[in-house]
Symmetry: D2
Subunit: 198 residues, 4 copies
């Protein structure tokens, strides 16, 4: 049973981007999150200009977070790390139980994007978040089991679908687990989901 | 508001143990989970004898899982891996959205117990689980940010407290997020929680 | 100064394969290793038939190892893990200082191949090996910073080049560092190497 | 055969420290490296004052590097990351083949020190270094399989022994593999080494 009126699911897409590739991904993740009814989405950039600039208040506001960073030497960027070390450090033990996920772009496949996602998830787990990946495939040769990944910018519809799927799943888990809106549980939508293709 | 009667929170403590150290931890994790009202706990061993033997049905039954393995060469044991590769493989995409966490024992600190927990969490994320660590400290020099860890068996009350805390937090998150029982949210119990000690 | 006659560089390509994808990669890694003069290469399969079957003696024999596994749930396969846990376990502390690297195939990009390589490297580090990735790109969108990776089988010349490059670099490091044959140091061949393409 | 006179093995101990714990470890790692004959050791701090301040020239100078960072949210500190992202970024593909290892201190066991070491090793591998951990135990309950670790500062002789052992092994591998000084190979010193204690 879902209440007729529930408070909106609040999703933060938080990212760092130097070349624009991760920014591109962030916009797609946000798009995916908005596909779920009653979702409110903020996009914020670490060190960004004006209203786009990420602050701890954005994290405190959110029920669910997608955190994206360039893959720099196989680990999240120092700018994104600084945000969590310094600005969020004083809010440690205050954001336990939010839902989190990751996305990253590297220069090429095998360039560390999965490891960078893993490092983001490590940071989020340290803050007490529950983190997830997506079992579904975005296309025959692309999935996002530990976060959405791209070689440079998402270059085709498959790459874009992976980013959107991350945002959609984040909104689904946040609605289901954080808001008790069980109608959004992906388990009930299995027919529409895409398993691996041998 | 919590309903007067809710269905029990079903917790599986799933482990492999060769020397008995992880088995010891498993019993403590189960103890911790039982501290939360209305929790039903199963303990199962990979390759165990009789009723103790883990089966995929145990995983399907559970709302939340704590998975423990010896630290073997810095990664979960081949026996635990085999359980997920082979027996659970055919249930892939059917257990998304459950809550998961990890525990492990190594021969000594620095022996890979955190990395082994990470490898367990990687497997659980692959299956679509939401995984977490615990922000709280169990004592001045022991925490469980990525799962409960021990050098050999948990040797003192601090080590035992860490295992119990993992089980309790697992039951809390499963009650809160999986069952909408918000009264168990650890955020509401902050006064009783233990932060880092400088 | 290089001695006129040096003992051959002994390279082991050790793999597990269920679908044939990693076997395909293993053959290419071996091909790459043979590009370096005075290299002797063995290919062995965990659980393989007849002479192809990997034994601890193969590991003891080798100066350098490339270890490949299917990406199963984001971690090396239980079969490969069993080989190191059980068969190699009794040789622990006897193979320190060998050179090691990793390769893996997953169902799709983002499917955990980098994490599986990382888990292989964790096992090798536990045994005291020095492990490496390759800075060079194999093509515009493919590199092997933490091991050679493929989505299913290496599907085109780029994917095949990455596998060969791993084997070649392994032979180069083993010749240089293990045998003092400094003429094979990749630093002296920089003109032939391929950096990232923005 | 070892030449009567060989050039010194150049070891850099590079660290970041906020509370002094990692600085303490760094001094011990340097001490251990100096135990090996004909070793020249530099200690440098990221953002340090005067001559202590780390520069890319220090990294270019070294044959072997021990890199230490506080465990901040389970990953190396943003300051250490910034050094590699920004200052060292322009030297990428110029330091392949050096030998590297890691050390880290967290607030408590289970607090992410192993994961922080792993993140350091990921960065070093990205730059083409060969990285290693130490199989030996420093004491009954302490080892350094993926780098030297401490809960807060190394508090007793065991903790200090682990740091020294890391430095010594780094100098040994660098002498053996980088300089062909096979008399320093740890395999020849097995009688003096300490295996795990069941």
């Amino acid at each position: 049973m879902t209440l007729a009126v529930t408070s909106p699911v609040k999703i933060l897409v938080l990212y760092d981007s130097q070349t624009g590739n991760v920014e591109h991904m962030a916009a797609l993740v946000a798009e995916g999150a908005r596909e779920i009814t009653n979702t409110e989405v903020r996009i914020r950039k670490v060190g960004g200009a004006g209203d786009l600039r990420a602050t701890p208040d954005d994290v405190l506001w959110a029920d669910g977070l997608a955190v994206g960073s360039p893959t720099n030497m196989g680990v999240l960027s120092w700018r994104m790390k600084q945000f969590w070390d310094e600005e969020m450090g004083r809010h440690w033990m205050k954001i336990d139980g939010k839902i989190g996920c990751a996305f990253s772009s590297a220069g090429g496949w095998g360039g560390g994007m999965e490891l960078a996602c893993q490092s983001i998830l490590t940071v989020l787990m340290n803050f007490g978040l529950l983190v997830f990946g997506v079992t579904d495939y975005a296309s025959r040769d692309l999935t996002l089991h530990y976060g959405a990944v791209a070689a440079k910018a998402p270059s085709d519809e498959h790459g874009r679908a992976a980013c959107r799927l991350l945002g959609r799943r984040l909104a689904e888990w946040t609605a289901t687990l954080g808001h008790g809106n069980t109608s959004e549980h992906p388990g009930g939508k299995l027919a529409a989901r895409r398993p691996a293709h041998a």
